[in-house]
Amino acid sequence: MEFGTSGDLGHDGIHVDMDRLKKGEVNLGTSIMAVTFKDGVILAADSRTTTGAYIANRVTDKLTRVHDTIWCCRSGSAADTQAVADIVQYHLGLYAMTNGQPPTTQVAASIFQELCYSNKDRLSAGLIIAGWDERHGGQVYAIPLGGSLHKQPYSIGGSGSTYIYGFCDANWKEGMNEEEAVAFVKGALREAIKWDGSSGGVIRMVVLTAKGADRHLYLPDTDYKVRHM
């Protein structure tokens, strides 16, 4: 059955084209996740960007900085999520200057949510916001398609996440150290990449702690075992 690309209900009155991409629009058919751990928070993502069946970019960076230690994982329309992240980055930069102190993760999450909710008819953006601040430590917020806001100990998203709910539920532990958390995230994304046709390429991570943002890169060439710069 053809469901169309308009985002309207199909002729059967039941099915909706959920991600509402235009014909040929660049999609982040994706595996993304963010986890809290003992010292802060880790964001991670695969690197595949597709237009239909064609891989438009095999080394995409889906982890986007919106402030020094507040980042987001983007899934859905590449154009929409980049635009939203750009707007939030502007707001947080202004907030830091006028307030004389860096924004909290909550502030970032609420700006993201306001944008995603008030434009819900026009956006296809599934976001995970994760940040560290000295008052609240590491935190993870998920903003799925409708623009609701969910605080979570860890969050997974994108098409690939459907394959790793079981893995994450079985292997997640609270208060992991950095090494354990990196291993958990990497193990989960390896499974997502393995099973999801729309996910693939390299694994990118960013670790946010009191020390700032630390980026990791793992390549399939070395079986995702070696950390590259």
């Binding site: 809290t36 751990f37 003992k38 010292d39 802060g40 928070v41 006028t98 307030n99 909290t104 909550q106 502030v107 999450a109 609420s110 700006i111 949510q113 306001e114 560290w132 000295e134 008052r135 609240h136 430590g137 590491g138 935190q139 993870v140 917020y141 609701s148 806001l149 969910h150 605080k151 979570q152 100990p153 609270e174 208060g175 702690t209 009191a210």
Partner: protein
């Protein structure tokens, strides 16, 4: 640009308040007829007249101690036909923040309306209560604009803003779900956040943060009393919120004592931490405590009078 107006009118009865050295330039030259025109010695007379309007208003006081903030105002009874205890003068800006003002009451009402709008728009954007310093900054900017243009006059009020910025972690309004049950990792240890805040904003838009603030007719004696409390040092550190309420009441009575002619009502509000009596909210001081504070204030004044009487007898 148009040349300064060379009117020959005199500014009514306020020459003495300006310095005498510049009498040829600042008297009757028309520099006080408008905002947006400086006098040659760099003053804006309209703003200075607005301050005069404040100096005639009922005394307002704000006290900041470690446990919270108290706001108090001397409400002069304009008519015996007014219902006692009605017509409140201290306004709530947001759940955690209040304002009291001296001067032109309608101007104060407009100030309050704007402050509530700022607090509301902050919540709309950031889904969290506005920090007191941000509210003070935005309202300072608002007042300042009214000193710039021909078409407006400055506010005839000085406002005292009291707030308690939450010491707890601030959730996003309306968020669902939790973080890990072991708590978020990587917090900075041994730091505290939020706390009691007190700001005073003048007609010029100038504002500072204070330990204790007073404005209106009795401001001079009120400030003298506030200074004795050592709010910046051990006085503020050791003072409980209830003591601050009693001091605020006493100071309003002392300030009123200088002009005993008119009847007045005392209106007081307070804001504590989430662990204190108001649970972080801006609320009216309960009647029982206010009555007690007023009784003590009257007793303290009578005590002073007795001392004076004794002094006289010893002469």
């Amino acid at each position: 640009m148009v040349a300064p107006p060379a009117f020959s009118c005199r500014r009514a009865g306020s020459e003495s308040s300006h310095s005498s050295s510049d009498s040829t330039t600042s008297i009757g030259t028309g520099y006080d007829l408008s905002n947006s025109i400086f006098s040659p010695d760099g003053r804006n007379f309209q703003v200075e007249y607005a301050v005069k309007a404040v100096e005639n208003g009922g005394t307002s006081v704000g006290i900041r101690c470690k446990e919270g903030v108290v706001l108090a105002v001397e409400k002069v009874v304009a008519s015996k036909l007014l219902k006692p205890g009605a017509n409140k003068r201290i306004a709530t800006i947001d759940r955690h923040m209040g304002v009291v003002y001296s001067g032109m009451i309608p101007d104060g009402r407009h100030f309050v309306e704007r402050a509530r709008g700022e607090a509301r728009s902050w919540r709309d954007q950031y889904k969290t209560p506005i920090p007191s310093d941000q509210l003070a900054s935005r309202m300072g900017g608002y007042l300042q604009v009214y000193t710039l243009y021909q078409s407006v006059r400055p506010f005839g009020i000085t406002a005292i803003v009291g707030g308690f910025d939450s010491e707890l972690e601030a959730p996003v309004d309306g968020e669902v779900g939790n973080g890990p049950s072991v708590g978020a990792g990587g917090k900075a240890q041994g730091k505290t956040y939020g706390g009691p805040k007190l700001y005073m904003l003048e007609p010029s838009g100038l504002y500072w943060g204070y330990f204790g603030a007073a404005t209106g007719k009795g401001r001079q004696s009120a400030k003298a009393e506030l200074e004795k409390l050592d709010l910046a040092g051990e006085g503020g550190e050791n003072m409980t919120l209830e003591q601050a309420v009693k001091e605020a009441a006493r100071i309003i009575y002392v300030a009123h004592d200088d002009s005993k002619d008119k009847e007045f009502e005392l209106e007081m509000t307070w804001i504590s931490a989430s662990t204190g009596p108001t649970k972080g909210l801006h609320q009216e001081v309960p009647k029982a405590l206010r009555d007690e504070a007023e009784r003590l204030a009257k007793a303290a004044l009578e005590g002073d009078d007795e001392d004076e009487a004794k002094d006289k007898m010893e002469e």
